[in-house]
Amino acid sequence: MSERQDILDGETIKRDFPIFRRTIHGKPLVYLDSAATSQKPQQVIDAVSDFYANHNANAHRGVYTLGEESTEAFEGARAKLATFFGSPDPRTIVFTRGTTESLNLVAQGWGRKFLKEGDEVLLTDLEHHSNVVPWQLTAQVTGAVLRYLPLTDEGQLDLSDLGSLLNERTKILAVTGMSNAIGTITPLGMLIEAAHAVGALVAIDAAQLAPHHGISVVELDCDFLAFSGHKMLGPTASGGLYAKPEHLEAMDPMFGGGEMIDEVFHDHSTWKPFPHKFEAGTMQIAQQIGLGVAVDYLSALGMDRVRAHEEEITRYALDRLLSIGATVFGPKDAAARGGAVSFWFRDLHPHDLAQVLDEEGVAIRAGHHCAQLVMRRFGIPASARASFYVYNVKEDVDLLVEALAEAENFFA
């Protein structure tokens, strides 16, 4: 293997993350659940702490020094996110608590206003529940019909019926960029082009894609892109929604309240211009500022290197898991997938596996990963899932494999 300088060194990166100094049951922490939430570097923790210690005031309100500092840092984080996602206009970033809230904002703010009875919403069997349930709620109100792109046995989108599933009745395609359950990377460029060709908009669930893959919303030409800060080194309850300006202009707000209004009368109100018309009440100021620092951190690493590192560890994990006889769901080619590796080992139930692995300091996820459509497609109630991020090293995979052998012995 080449020792190119452009390969990230997980061991060095790990030192920025204080949580890796602690032990679990006396063993070093091997954290393999970044698809659920990532760990936080000291830089992000310091940014949140510094905000509360030195700058805390509500944003967009106080006409005093602290209020101005808070507003500047909050809006500064918005500008950083716009740059990170390749949008030339910071106003195209609406702050939310994360992907779930962002997708609900699209399904409600856009969907309830523009979908009519008989209109179709195209989803896929890969989707996380947060890109399914909001559309079901909207369909109940509007009479829109939900359709689903199925999956191949390899866990890729089955596009053989795309021509009929994506038709002139389709008003929006809502699709993940990278599966949280089985890692699949979807062909977004081609899907967006096909959707636009029939006049449909495209909303991307980028909860998994954004932390692991460079994204340019301009190049993709997507209409909406939802992301979660806490999965990309940022604080919990940070994140947002990118949308094209014309959609933000046309959409209704989802929440009413303070700071989103222009004027309030007895019978009606007028809204502030976007993005602020979508940001009612006191926002997650410290968290979004922390997220701004998180994307600084990721940008310094370089998203191309972040992706290359993930691909390398994922390839190694797939090799090792398959070699010990684990059943891996989803694509087996690391280049076609992200780092969420779902598997069954022997016939050990994922819950039992996760419990025994925890004893070895190894944290994996066991469950349906909020993706019951995927689980049902593969005929399993749940799976064990290991997922990787910038601070993981190949030795983490080795420890996982050793712990799996322990589990096998335990239940033998």
Binding site: H349, H368, Q372, F411
Partner: protein
């Protein structure tokens, strides 16, 4: 090893050699439920006569905790009056919540589940079979009422 707190010999034994894990032809009640946390599904079937559980069986797949709890349950409640079985169910829940000190005589093998109290997320696994039994039995109440 701390794992022994949760995985007692008894639990592993019931997991590897589940008792009464089969269909119950002609069952008076059959009920299926799943654990929303992990999607595990358990079906419990029972034959009753005069308010007494004659035979109880279970089917389904799940983790060692849910499977062993179901296996132990089918042994523990067979031959019991429905009211007594429900009383035991309440006590098992109480034990798993750390509120009831199990009476070894009444609990038998079920005492092995006591260690689950330290693993709150697994309590749902341990009570699943008991929830299904309770649902199944309450349906007979409604039917006979």
């Amino acid at each position: 090893m701390a794992l022994d707190d949760i995985y007692k010999e008894t639990i592993l034994d019931h997991y590897k050699n589940p008792r009464n894990k089969r269909e119950l032809p002609g069952a008076v009640v059959t009920k299926t439920k799943n654990n929303p946390l992990c999607g595990d599904e358990i079906t419990v079937s029972a034959n009753l006569e005069d308010g007494k559980l004659l035979e109880v069986t279970f089917q389904g797949a799940g983790c060692s905790i849910s499977q062993s709890s179901a296996s132990m349950m089918t042994e523990a409640v067979a031959g019991k009056a429905v009211d007594d079985a429900m009383g035991l169910a309440a006590n098992v829940r109480g034990m798993l919540a750390g509120e009831v000190e199990p009476d070894e005589g009444a609990f038998g093998d079920l005492v092995a589940l006591k260690g689950v109290v330290k693993y709150p997320i697994r309590i749902k696994c341990a009570v699943l079979a008991w929830d299904v039994l309770q649902d199944a039995v309450s349906e007979t109440d409604t039917a006979s009422a």
